[in-house]
Symmetry: C2
Subunit: 271 residues, 2 copies
């Protein structure tokens, strides 16, 4: 079973498990504080349990890293680390705001060693994938069938916008006394509340840059999309321009700038 | 035929007309500059033409105000003004970002006289409506059937959050040297790029406030949702706290603050 099939089975199980919980406020009831230090809601737990049950049947040995339970060893000596955010965009999902996804990364020991990335948009069914060294792809199940030119979908690329006034940016960086990105120095600022999917929009060229300087991102939010952006030709660093090599630990928090590469240095100067 | 049926027919015709254009970049090709001073894209024109064709068959006399063509008289002496944004969230629609809608308002002469408001989420099919003095409603076609308790759906209400640190805010107000709302003084900031639908989230209590201080909103973007927010118990003013009585002219641009009412004065102090 390929990494694609394993990720797809897990995402499919999650989609099935949460389908009755979308848009239901009681799906957002807090059960406890999760391993990542934030509340585990009913929908998060349902999603994580669905993933676990697929992985335990898979037969391969792995280290499982997930937002709610933290870390668990499955089987014997781990062949890889399976990094999952069971639902990215829980607030959206619970409130029927159609913007949430499942991001999965197959990794070695830290964020510098991501072998495979998979993000499924749970609303549209779009699937973004990347294998290290082999490019990034978007597979879309319907609506835009002309995009599907192969089993992995269509190869995607970052945008080619190189000047700040033309940028479409996802930005969580607003701070009280410093506004690096705003509606006056770029073309468009959006904040959808689902980092993994927003990063895929950088990879596919719909947006040009993603900035989150709140020190709130977890490895489970960004691992899959980091590889997808890089394999689509983009660049991902921390807020100082350093490459990310954060350990796969859900209690760690990072800042992040992802871009088409062309505007990366200009953004680093701003933040 | 009720206002609901008229609006629903128009929105249905638009949904049908644009269904093949969602997620297709060539649907975003600029055809010309519209009456509102911004580009008319292929998808905007298809939507507006679909609306016109329904209205011309309706038989009632009206003044039709729409983003692309500006203004047109249909029939004889107008009984009302039909205010339409054919697609709110064009950028999202063209890029397959699932967040765009059709807002329609039945008005007298300006924004102080809105008789009926209708907003259809073109992704989920959710329909928000309000009739002056009779409350605001959400009708959702599937997924959350428990919400549908009548033909108009379920009555909706704004939230009851009254303190800034607890606020979930939609904010387009970022300016270079003044950041009234940011991730440090409220709980959550989002920007989805579709004002009419974002305002409905204020009405239904998912978000607590909406702020747009860019002087970019048109009457076509906000007329329907203004009534929906007010009928749900919320408050809508300009950035100085004055009520909005803008003429129904697509070249006019306004600032706007909409909230659950409880936090309105605090937000006015900030901006």
């Amino acid at each position: 079973m390929s990494f694609y099939e394993l990720c797809d089975d897990v995402a499919g199980a999650i989609q099935h498990a949460v389908s009755g919980l979308i848009g239901k406020p009681d799906a957002g009831v807090m059960l406890r504080i999760g391993a990542d230090g934030t509340p585990t809601e009913k929908i998060d737990e349902a999603a994580e349990n669905a993933a676990l049950s697929v992985l335990e049947k898979d037969g391969r040995s792995m280290r499982f890293v997930s937002e709610e339970l933290g870390e668990r060893k499955i089987g014997g000596k781990p062949e890889f680390t399976f990094v999952l955010d069971p639902i990215d965009g829980t607030f959206n999902a619970v409130n029927n705001i159609p913007f949430f996804c499942v991001p999965i990364a197959i990794c070695g020991s830290d964020l510098s060693d991501i072998r495979y990335g998979y993000v499924r948009n749970l609303v549209s069914g779009d699937i973004y994938t990347a294998e290290k060294g082999k490019g990034a792809y978007l597979k879309t199940p319907y609506k835009t069938p002309y995009l599907n030119t192969g089993t992995k979908g269509t190869k995607i690329h970052v945008s080619s916008v190189s000047e700040l006034p033309g940028l479409s940016v996802i930005s969580y960086s607003h701070r009280p006394h410093a506004v690096p990105i705003n509606n006056h120095n770029v073309r468009r600022v959006r904040v959808f509340g689902c980092a993994a999917l927003e990063l895929c929009y950088i990879a596919s060229g719909i947006f040009d840059a993603f900035i989150d300087m709140r020190s709130m991102l977890r490895v489970t939010d960004i691992a899959a999309s980091k590889l997808i952006v890089e394999e689509a030709g983009g660049k991902v660093t921390d807020g100082q321009g350093n490459s990310l090599s954060t350990p796969l630990d859900v209690t760690k928090r990072v800042n992040m700038i992802a871009s088409n590469g062309l505007v990366h240095d200009k953004l680093l100067e701003l933040v």
